[in-house]
């Protein structure tokens, strides 16, 4: 698959691709003298090869920040992020670039994550050229990739704006895949999509994972999405992970009060079950107050 295979570090015995250990992220505040804004208060997480770890939380919980820290786009103040056993939390620009073979990203908004002025072909070729792949080989690889994400081969000559949201997200997925990474950070990749498109794109994610063994850090606010795609799930609340574990266990019998609130607030597309859940949620709220 890789046109230019590079030797990879061996996966450690326990099989973790990514280990996040007590990571603190702080953003400098605007005025001087105002203390910096602490987005993550010591977060730990691990992802094994071929595994999807779902990261759920509400807006402002820090889930996107964690994804950005893994990608090297957010300043890690304390703690350690290790990829295949190597600390990557404070890499220099050059070392970080070298890591682009290993860690990739799919962002939420398929409208702003693709440069509107570049053709789909150029968007997909760019990372390959950076890796030193020849133009001819890159063209070959792009045909392969477009096929993998079920887009027509002539898509390469068109601009992103000619595609619908779901198709654009497929392009973004193809870009993430083109260097054959072992970890993809997916930041709300289906929340801007229509219901039926969302289901198909999720199926694509799963199919790719089963075929290539790539691991996902899958960030979302939608519990039903997380249940569909994740092997394990971590629940974030106010910059901390409050609960984590097997998806089925956490979503069916949440232990932490926040997770319980979150689960009961999720809507069920069934009037009778939804009524029961509502009553249950009110019961919990009444008990809590």
């Amino acid at each position: 698959m890789m046109t230019n295979p590079t030797p990879r570090p061996d996966t450690p015995a326990h099989g973790s691709v990514l280990e996040v250990d007590e990571v603190v992220v702080e953003y400098p505040a605007k005025g001087w003298r105002t203390p910096p804004f602490r987005a993550l208060h010591g977060v730990s997480l691990d992802i094994r090869a071929g595994e999807t770890v779902g990261l759920v939380g509400e807006s402002g919980s820090g889930k996107t920040t964690l994804g950005r820290a893994v990608l090297g786009l957010a300043p890690v103040r304390e703690g350690r992020i290790a990829y295949a056993g190597r600390d990557i939390s404070r890499l220099g620009a050059r070392e970080r670039r070298a890591l682009s073979d290993e860690i990739q990203v799919v962002f939420q908004d398929p409208y702003t994550s693709l440069n509107p002025a570049m053709t789909v072909g150029d968007i997909l070729t760019e990372p390959l050229l950076v890796a030193g792949v020849s133009r001819g080989a890159a063209g070959e690889r792009i045909r392969e990739l477009l096929d993998q994400v079920s887009l027509p081969a002539d898509a390469a000559h068109r601009l992103p704006r000619e595609f619908s949201g779901g198709q654009r997200q497929r392009i973004a997925i193809a870009r993430a895949l083109c260097r054959d990474p072992r970890l993809i950070v997916c930041d709300e990749p289906v929340s801007a999509l229509d219901l039926s498109t969302q289901a198909r794109v999720l199926d694509l994610f799963i199919e790719i994972q089963e075929r290539t063994g790539v691991a996902y850090l899958f960030i979302t606010h939608d519990l039903s999405v997380v249940r569909r795609i994740s092997h394990r799930v971590a629940v974030m609340y106010r910059g901390e992970i409050v609960e984590s574990g097997d998806t089925r266990a956490v979503t069916s019998q949440p232990q932490h009060p926040y997770t319980q609130r979150l689960m009961l607030a999720a809507l069920v597309p069934d009037p009778d079950r939804q009524r029961d859940r509502r009553e249950q949620r009110r019961g919990l709220a009444a008990a809590g107050s």
Binding site: S59, H256, D272
Partner: protein, 603 residues
């Protein structure tokens, strides 16, 4: 999703200035008539000044007493000036000074402004702070004053003055470039490029320069015009090189003889206006071609042909409805497009009774929001609304004028929007936004309106109503803003509430609370309600009756229980199957890790 005409793929250009690499900018510019005319005029002007010796045999500077104020004729096509110099020759040779000077100024401005802007916008930090400070300093100084000081210091030298002008214009370029860079830098595709392993140089070249290019070219054209004007101004004040002919010097000379021969103003005046107007119009044409043209024709996929849909499983209109609050029969909404008309709502019928919640479900582009806005009478002006029947509380809404409709809106039909933050006026306190419509509709005093608004805020679950009443929208959270909007909607006790995706922008836990609030208010006031949503969970939670829409048509209409238990239409079944609630959960890879870790909630 509330964007009118095309709900489908709102092809929002993420980088408004991006140059499209397809279709050649030059070629597209040549298709613009104004641009072609302007380019021709400018080319002729440049050629005429370059080849001035071929066009006239006169010297622009040699006086001839015989030709003083000569009238235009064979010897002097444009006549002679106060010392008998040939006006045409002065005009042609003078153009060299004016155009070269303007060119010099623009070049200097770009040379300074573009690199500093790129560095400032891309790296930010203290470099940016320093550059920006210097820029604001230079911008605050009146250009002519700086030029006067410069001339006083270095003496009358047109080129030196124009170089200084370039320095004065540079902050404008700097700011523009910096702003464009800052806006693209925030784009996700630049983040994606970082993750793809591109180095800074390549990111700037591939992703940032193309965006900076278009606005900079436009600005350069505009600056050229400004430079021509200021150049002429300097010469007009007699601060240029006295020996050389220039348009400004000609104006100066004409001004001195204003009472003797005012027509001397015409030649240099026309030359300046034509030059500057051409450059200005060219800049506008460039803007159209480079900015809007690059993003024209968004992929708006509206249905133009009637799709051969299977007829709805049961009749959407319950004609037997005697106590219907709202009946809509065969509603059509269409928009004019370049090739005819696009229909976004196509034959929708529905009815809402007092105390009934009707859900409109569908994916983006199904026409559900457009249906809701049709009832409110809030479609954009270019929309065309037709219906066989559209009556509310016995009134025919089709016949109501703007004023009568305004009287109905807010008073008897209310609206709850999707995005809470963008639906409050950022410049006014929340209290006044709540109280104003109440005073208008209910004819109550300011004090009474305030009292009622505070009671409403409390009713919608806001803890400290006074504080929110006095707050500005940017001071409250999204969930709170949505409560405020709901309070506003129910403030005049409407009979019908139209909620357009009222919980979509909210967090899960807030969504549940807002739905509870809507349900309570609806029951307590026996309001009819139309709820537009894409979420079947919301439908299950609150609706009594559901209409499933696709491509502007209602494909299925049924009571909520029946819809979920026994969906008739294939599309409804497909949508329900797409909900992930009952999809299989993935099993863990192996059992090597503890099944769960929980952090005890900290106080």
């Amino acid at each position: 999703m509330t964007n009118p005409p095309g709900e489908t793929t709102p092809a929002t250009p993420s980088a408004p200035g991006a140059l499209s690499r397809r279709g050649g900018v030059g070629r597209r510019l040549l298709r613009n008539l104004v641009a072609v005319v302007c380019l021709t005029v400018l080319a002729l002007l440049v050629l005429a000044t370059v080849f001035a010796p071929l066009l006239t045999s006169h010297s622009p500077t040699r006086p001839s007493l015989l030709d003083t104020f000569a009238s235009p004729g064979a010897a002097h096509p444009l006549g002679g000036d106060s010392v008998g110099r040939d006006v045409l020759a002065r005009l042609l040779y003078g153009g060299r000074v004016s155009l070269l000077g303007a060119f010099l100024a623009v070049a200097v401005a770009l040379l300074i402004g573009v690199p500093t802007g790129l560095v400032s916008g891309y790296y930010r930090g203290w470099v940016d702070a320093a550059f920006s400070w210097v820029a604001s300093l230079v911008m605050a100084a009146p250009a002519i004053m700086v030029l006067l000081v410069a001339i006083a210091a270095i003496g009358p030298d047109a080129n030196a003055a124009m170089t200084v002008l370039g320095v004065i214009l540079a902050p404008g370029v700097f700011r523009l470039v910096r702003a464009s860079v800052t806006s693209v830098r925030e784009e996700l595709y630049v983040d994606a490029a970082h993750v793809s392993g591109l180095n800074d140089l390549r990111i700037v070249r591939r992703h940032i320069l193309p965006v900076v290019q278009a606005p900079t070219i436009i600005q350069a054209a505009q600056m050229f015009g400004v430079a021509v004007v200021i150049q002429a101004g300097i010469e007009f004040l007699g601060l240029g090189s006295a020996s050389e002919a220039s348009w400004g010097a000609m104006l100066n000379e004409a001004f001195a003889n204003l009472y003797i021969e005012p027509t001397l103003l015409v030649a240099p005046g026309v030359a300046i206006v034509v030059t500057v107007a051409s450059v200005g119009l060219l800049a506008n044409a460039l803007r159209d071609t480079l900015l809007e043209g690059g993003h024209a024709a968004p992929a708006r996929r509206l249905r133009r042909t009637k799709t051969p849909d299977s007829p709805p499983a049961d009749s959407p209109v319950r004609d037997d409805d005697g106590d219907a609050l709202l009946t809509v029969r065969n509603l059509r909404v269409s928009y004019p497009t370049s090739d005819g008309e696009a229909t976004v709502v196509d034959g929708v019928s529905l009815s809402v009774r007092h105390g009934e919640v009707v859900g409109l479900v569908g994916e983006s582009g199904s026409g559900k929001s457009q249906t809701a806005f049709s009832v409110l009478g809030l479609l954009p002006p270019e929309a065309r609304r037709e219906a066989e029947g559209l009556s509310f509380g016995g009134k025919d809404l089709r016949r109501l004028g703007g004023k009568a409709m305004s009287g109905l809106r807010g008073r008897r039909i209310a609206y709850v929007p999707q995005e809470p933050m963008s639906n409050l006026d950022p410049s006014f306190r929340i209290g006044s936004q709540l109280a104003d419509p109440m005073r208008l509709h209910l004819k109550i005093s300011a004090g009474e309106a305030r009292k009622r608004a505070l009671a409403l805020l409390e009713r919608v679950g806001i803890d400290r109503p006074e504080r929110v009443y006095d707050a500005y929208p940017h001071q409250i959270s999204g969930g709170m803003a949505q409560r405020v909007l709901i309070a506003g909607a129910v403030s005049c006790d409407p009979d019908l509430l139209i909620a357009d995706e009222p919980t979509t922008a909210l967090d899960v836990t807030v969504q549940a609370e807002v739905l509870d609030l809507l349900r309570e208010l609806q029951r307590e006031r026996r309001m009819g309600m139309i709820l537009v949503t894409h979420n079947f969970g919301v439908v299950a939670d609150i609706c009594d009756h559901v209409l499933v829409m696709r491509s502007g048509k209602v494909v299925e209409s049924a009571p909520v229980g029946q819809l979920f238990a026994n969906p008739h239409h294939a599309y409804t079944r497909m949508l329900l199957a797409s909900t992930l609630e009952d999809a299989p959960t993935r099993t863990p890879l192996d059992d090597g890790t503890p099944a769960r870790t929980t952090v005890q909630e900290k106080a």
